[in-house]
């Protein structure tokens, strides 16, 4: 068989997100190819959870992910690092109350 006849090998690319325990955030694990969503979920289980049990798996078509671009980072994220008043350490409290900051 020639490569020509095998064109439909290029299945959709999916990104896999795993949630370890209930209440935790899903974390990106990697990607895989699959023909449909059921196969994507099964492949995600087989490829990314061979050692541990997970609470939940998400699969998302890679092409549906919208991402920011690194080269625009400065303008995109802007001056967030200057906004220190968004952190508690910016504020001053009387000496006896310092451990408020440790919470």
């Amino acid at each position: 068989m020639t490569a020509e006849e095998n064109k439909n090998d290029q299945w959709e690319l999916w990104e896999v997100f795993l949630q370890g325990k209930t209440g935790e955030a899903h974390i990106h694990a990697g990607s895989l190819r699959a023909a449909d969503k059921e196969m994507a979920l099964q492949n995600a289980r087989d490829v990314y959870s061979r050692r541990e049990k997970f609470e939940n798996i998400w699969v998302v078509k890679s092409k549906d992910i919208i991402a920011s671009t690194q080269k625009d980072n400065d303008s995109f994220f802007g001056t967030v690092e200057d906004k220190i008043y968004r952190h508690p350490q910016f504020y001053k409290l009387p000496d006896g109350m310092k451990n408020e900051f440790k919470k």
Binding site: N6, L13, R50, R51, T69
Partner: protein, 314 residues
Amino acid sequence: MPENNIVLEKEFEKRLIQQEKIEPRDWMPEKYRNQLIRLISQHAHSEIIGMLPEGNWITRAPSLRRKIALLAKVQDEAGHGLYLYCAAETLGTTREEMFDQLHEGKAKYSSIFNYPTLTWADIGMIGWLVDGAAIINQTTMARCSYGPYSRSLLRICKEENFHKIQGMEIVGVLCSGTKEQREMAQESFNRWWWPTLMMFGPHDSNSPNSGELLKWKIKMKSNDELRQRFIDITVEQAKVFGLEIPDPNLNYNQKTGKWDTGEINWEEFYNVINGNGLCNKERLGARKNAHFGNSWVRDAATTYENKKNNLKAA
């Protein structure tokens, strides 16, 4: 090079110096991209072809304990191949392209997998030596500059340890067994020692691309450095097993505190790399059989998906 690219390349190199990782959508020099595609696809092919020598012993594993370990290990290697093909695809190549190159004999994979697995002891040696060597390579490369490759390698490294340890258990049992078992282990060790040293590639003085690869952090340590690390670890372990290193020139160097070895047979290395090893044809044949023989499964899955989509549209 256009003016713009010079600026971009300067910025790119600055990012590398600052230990930043490069991600798929970031700007990167064409040569960096191509070197990575070559490197990651070769690595992926090695994982997939690497299943074959071990697969050879799954049905003949001496106990259920050994069989489940070997099955799990071979499954892991398939998974490693998948992580890596996906990482390579983020650079703009397709899996189909990579498979075509492999099947047409144009792509390389690790020369070690072109050696036959003649006895059960070979399965122990592969885990101990081949996976051991791969771990040294992969843990170093996990710090490389390309995000998707680095992440795949971290995941791979977590799984590799069991590969090595189960192999060492096999070797340990044989080495403390009957006279026949000990001889089997030594005979196998004699065959695998040198090809494993070759896995690290030519001497630094003979690897012309190294400078650029090191600068771009898609190579983290030189071939000879990694090989030396492997030798120093393995010589000590061989002593514990009671195995003799098949090298009359092996010598502990008091000055460097490292083990010096005799010269590697580079003619054999290039011979195997160029397709003339003992099993090159067999491996590629088995790979093609698996791929093309199973194409009906992939076709059926695609047809099923298309049919569902058409029903939805109707």
